[in-house]
Symmetry: C2
Subunit: 459 residues, 2 copies
């Protein structure tokens, strides 16, 4: 049975709340727009995505170094990077209600692409087309709105107390470039990887984990000689595809969008957006990959007065160029959920399951006794449970209701294997002594396996 894509996203969001993956942030107080909390299963899935990424791109490679820079940085970072001046959206106000809107969104609703327009051009377009606020009132002139959250550090009132919540983790890497070079003596080309929270004060946060105000990034800044950027760009492009494979995303649901030259950020000579085909939404950003030249290191060298030069083995000095593969954790989580959400029909009833890869599933297996009121079954099942929990950690125990209901519950949260201990396990059929039933999530098929072989079968 195919799943209608019309409401697939709504079904996923509902499943996420019902089964403890994702909750609206602070929902008991009416929520906070653009913030989401991960429940017990969401944090398990999220942690696995992050640790698999770290294994693939940091720990698993000899040319990569990890970093965890602070969210609060000296404000000079954001002046040098251009964010104070340039990380802005155009904003207009409803002159009656004082509600504020993204001017480019209002223009887009009227069929106009505001990309690259100055404030004056936006004002002129609004006037010319007679564009009103969604409530039908006149609009104010457009002004810029910086998307960085501001806060103050210390108790003084002066400008020295002004800081920002980082809008990207990347700059934390650039300002630590010399620290990593000095402490680790890496050889070019090499990269620095980081996972961490970033914040953007979106005027119009969108549904679920798209365009949120607080999000987690997995970012790499890969430092290369200018002459080798194209070769390394191609190698990383392929590595990014391998990551999507590892997440279990089908290649037909992903496309590369080559950002046209005239739309490139001023520091970039080439940028690819990797887009996923989210149900009911279409292709939208999953990850980005930019060649940032030496823009950032040069900008920080100039602003800080510190050298950002790398010294080659032969004494040549250079400021490396940078490739930036950048991944949103929430986007990856959403794509994995969308990709794995399935419905089929079992005994005339709709069965919902998440076909998650085993290395991502919150629980690798669920163990249960056939009946919970038979102490000998429970005791045997507990032994199997402890054996597997010691080996894998993420093993569930479920003795509620009948076996069929347990299967449905585990299907819905993507547990690949359900293991049931029955009277044959205890030797009622002597041929089956110390064997258990393994039931497979995606096919519903069952097989009989010896307890002694369970660990290797589940690997």
């Amino acid at each position: 049975m195919t799943t209608s894509t019309d409401n697939k996203m709504e079904k996923i969001v509902a499943l996420c709340k019902r089964r403890g993956f994702v909750f609206q942030g602070t929902d008991i107080y009416g929520g906070l727009r653009g913030a989401w909390d991960l429940g017990p299963l969401g944090v398990a899935l999220n942690n696995r995505i992050k640790s698999e990424w770290w294994k693939m791109f940091v720990e698993g490679r000899e040319d990569m170094y990890g970093l965890d820079a602070a969210i609060l940085m000296n404000a000079k970072v954001w002046e040098a990077s251009g964010h104070v001046a340039g990380f802005v959206d155009p904003l207009v106000e409803d002159t009656e209600t004082s509600e504020r809107f993204r001017a480019d969104h209002l223009l887009k609703d009227n069929g106009i692409d505001a990309e690259g327009m100055s404030l004056e051009m936006i004002d002129a377009t609004i006037l010319e087309r007679g564009i009103k606020s969604p409530k039908g009132n006149p609009l104010s002139k457009a002004r810029t709105f910086n998307m960085m959250f501001e806060t103050r550090i210390g108790a003084t009132a002066g400008p020295e107390g002004q800081v920002y919540l980082r809008p990207e983790t990347a700059q934390g890497i650039f300002v630590n470039f010399k620290n990593v070079v000095d402490s680790m003596s890496p050889k070019l080309p090499f990269g620095i990887g980081q996972i961490g929270k970033a914040f953007r004060n979106e005027i119009a946060p969108r549904e679920f984990l798209f365009r949120v105000r607080e999000f987690e990034q997995m970012e790499i800044e890969y430092f290369v000689r200018e002459s080798e950027w194209q070769e390394q760009f191609e190698a990383w492009r392929l590595a990014i595809w391998q990551w999507f494979d590892h997440l279990g995303l089908s290649r037909e649901n992903i496309q590369e969008f080559e950002v046209p030259e005239n739309d490139l950020a001023h520091y970039s000579k080439r940028t690819i957006d990797f887009e996923y085909n989210y149900p009911g939404k279409g292709f939208d950003e999953l990850a980005g990959f930019a060649y940032r030249t030496d823009f950032d290191l040069q900008a920080h060298a100039k602003a800080s007065g510190q050298s950002m030069e790398y010294v080659e083995g032969d004494g040549t000095k250079l400021v490396p160029h940078v490739l930036e593969p950048s991944f949103g954790v929430g986007r990856a989580l959403t794509a994995v959920l969308c990709e794995s959400y399935r419905e089929d029909e079992v005994n005339g009833e709709v069965r919902t399951y998440l076909a998650l890869p085993t290395h991502l599933a919150p629980y690798r297996a669920c163990v249960s006794p056939l009946l919970k009121n038979k102490p000998e079954l429970v005791e045997k099942a507990r032994g199997v449970f402890m054996l597997l929990k010691k080996e894998f950690g993420n093993i569930a125990w479920d003795d509620n209701g009948n076996v069929g209901k347990r299967y449905r519950r585990q299907d819905e949260i993507g547990t690949p294997y359900c293991i049931v201990i029955d009277f044959d396990t205890l030797g009622e059929n002597p041929d089956l002594l110390d064997t258990v039933t393994i039931r497979h999530r995606d096919t519903g098929e069952q097989e009989r396996v010896a307890i002694s072989e369970l660990v290797s079968r589940l690997k």
Copy 2:
């Protein structure tokens, strides 16, 4: 050779910077007080502390559920929790220079304990004792200063845009209590564990990872029936000691400080601070453990209008009471570094090493060829390296300088085992074919082990 405790902390801080554990935040721009960045080895050690904690207290237990709530929450959370009104420090200003100081710190410098003093009492004491600012100038009257960082969400100017950076992760758990109960159907007693960043606008951030403005917490809220709190308190107290054992901290370096009844927070009926004996500093906080009664759930029930009742199997309804074991990741990291920092004498030279437990060390082992200019040695060593890297992940490769220097480098970053491939490995001595030298960090002892046994020996 014993290490002088006078400058041990300075040595550790210097090692942390030199070898890529911890850097001052944004140091190329003169730093940001109270913020620190973790370098490649610091993030490795930190990640291990966090994942071991998660395994011990969340994944490893059947009564625990994980959570990852957002840093930005609806401001009503902090009104209900009492932080908006009560999370304050008393502040005085130098009337000449406008510099601001913690009034309680100035009083402490003059031998006066300001604990529990009202602002009026502080003013009276300053007047009476003639206390001046550190520059000798008169002080302003004391006022309260809220330690929560404030920011604004959205583009509107009204009070609805006011939010705070969370000063603790705990409230993210309380506001998700019902979500976890509804989605996971846990049985009392049960707990929710969370690891995440929190922020406090300390007026006087102190050296290194003590009293920082941005820090990471590992917190548990454990929900119990009121009648069982003492029994569960004792069980958790022992579990906390086991955690310190697992970090490799000696019990003689840790003490429990039972907070006296008249110093308890208004919501707590019992609180223990676990203190570590930091070198050159003495006993200071490492972790906290509080019985918070039902204060938080009741406060949120009242403020949100949502029920925080738990329904027992027999239909009994109750608002659970809460035990809170709370750990600072930075404090744990610091204690582990202090505990493991050692100096001894080898061939008349001081040798510095970190006696880190194997399960925490950034690298489990380092592999190197005896000589880097012998391709047959390098090739063989690469094979051993790849074998171990596939099994463990965190394996270092080092072919720089002579073997003695490599040992010193690995000692300093706490690598438990150095593995050297030499000509005997290749069969120069046929009896030693396919064996390698394992050199042990703490003792400097060396032994010969077959490559086929390496994986099991390193486990």
